[in-house]
Each structure stands twice: as C-alpha cells, then as structure tokens.
C-alpha cells in the first residue's frame, strides 16, 4: 500500500456483526477507496459476510450513505443489515 493509505474504522451491527464475529475493526485502505471496496475487502476476510451482499446498508460518520461514497482517513464506516427496531 502506498504512503497515502487511509485508515478508517469499520463498525458491524446485527446479523453482520454476528456473522463476522467482530464488531469493530481499524482498516487500512488505498487512497480514494469507496465504501464498496472496503466491503469487498471485508468479505474476503470474513467470507460469512458474503450472504449479506445484496441487503447491507452503510453509514459514514453516522449518516446513511451509498456504497460509492469515497472514504477519507479517520472516517467511521458502519455496515449493517436493514434496520428492524421498533
């Protein structure tokens, strides 16, 4: 990875957290990585996440966001299934 690599924090919730067996990770990514590319790396590391591929939602810094969002160093990327509170 280049010297301009970015560090982000990834949070997992609900069934995603349970499938990965972890709720929080610090992650190094190439510059200009998208939320989607972070997800791809995460799936490689935790293959049980693959089944959520079509359903997951994402938030960056506590705001709902799309998968094509470009991440910056210090961002918190949350990945979770559709919400089911109430």
């Amino acid at each position: 990875m280049s010297v301009e690599a970015i560090w982000i924090k990834i949070l997992l919730f609900g069934a995603c957290r349970e499938a990965a067996g972890i709720e929080e990770l610090d992650y190094q990514l190439a510059p200009s990585s998208t939320a989607e590319s972070a997800w791809t790396e995460l799936k490689n590391r935790f293959p049980d996440l693959a089944r959520f591929d079509r359903s997951i939602l994402m938030a960056v810094n506590e705001e709902h966001t799309g998968r094509d969002t470009i991440l910056s160093s210090g961002d918190t990327l949350a990945i979770f299934p559709p919400v089911s509170g109430g």
Binding site: L11, F13, G14, A15, R17, E18, S55, L57, A59, E62, E63, H64, T65, G66, A78, F80, P81, P82, V83, S84, G85, G86
Partner: protein, 148 residues
C-alpha cells in the same frame, strides 16, 4: 423546542416521558408503545434482543423529529425513547409521544413516527425462541430511497 430523543438500556419511563412533554398548549397526547409480543407466527417468543448504533440512532431520531415538524407544523412536542438489550414479554422496546393542540395531528404524526423509525433508525432485533434464535429482517432499501 424541548423534544426528547433517547436510547437507553433501562426500562422506558413512559409516564415520565409524557409528563416532561406536556405543556398547556396541548389538547391531545398520542402515545405509541411497542411491546414484546409472546409469539411470532405462532412460535412462542422467550425474549427479544435489541442492538443499537447509539449515536447514529439518536441522530436519526432527531432527523425524524425535524421531518415531523415540517409535515405537521402544529405538533407541540415530540418524544421518542428506544430501549436496547434483552427484553421480556410485555416490556416496551420503544415509546413515541406526540402532543398537539388537536388530536388529528397527534395521531398522524405518531403513526408516521413509528413507521419511519422502523425504516431509518439503526436498531436491530433478534427473536429468541425456546429452540433457537433469529434476526428479524428489516425492510430493505427504504432508507436509501427516502433519507439519502
């Protein structure tokens, strides 16, 4: 404005929430209380486990509060408390209170509030049965469409 948005592990103090929201301007208070049912599709439920992304959940409840005030300017006060952790049958997972001068607005805004909360506020629940457990599937895609 003194609206209230809270996420808590403790039992929800519904009466306290209502009292904190009641002003002389209110003529109607509508309260929604979501309680743990004893069964899902005939299968007896033992407990429900709620998990919340707390800081984001508060932000989303505040955003929902702003959305409600835009749609129903006559609303007087808004209160929402969602609980997380393990809940037993008949315990409250979420309480939403809306007050307004007249009842129609309070009913509409309260119904809307719980419908939207279930679409946008990052909280998840797992049903625990005597013989296993299952995450409840949320309705997909509705957040993306309406709040981004």
């Amino acid at each position: 404005m003194h609206d209230i948005f809270e996420i808590t592990r403790e039992p929800i103090d519904k009466q306290g929430l209502e009292q904190r929201l009641l002003t002389g301007a209110a003529g109607a208070m509508v309260t929604f209380d979501g309680v743990v049912r004893n069964q899902t599709k005939g299968r007896p439920v033992v407990t429900l486990q709620y998990e919340a992304y707390v800081p984001m959940a508060i932000k989303e409840m505040e955003r929902l509060g702003r959305e409600i005030r835009e749609k129903w300017p006559d609303v007087d006060r808004i209160g929402m408390i969602h609980r997380f952790g393990e809940l037993k049958i008949s315990e409250s997972s979420v309480v939403i209170v809306i007050t307004s001068p007249h009842r129609k607005v309070a009913f509409e805004a309260c119904h809307y509030a719980i419908d939207r909360l279930k679409q946008t506020v990052p909280i998840w629940k797992k049903e625990v049965f005597a013989d296993g457990e299952e995450w409840v599937e949320g309705s997909q895609g509705e957040i993306t469409k309406q709040t981004i």
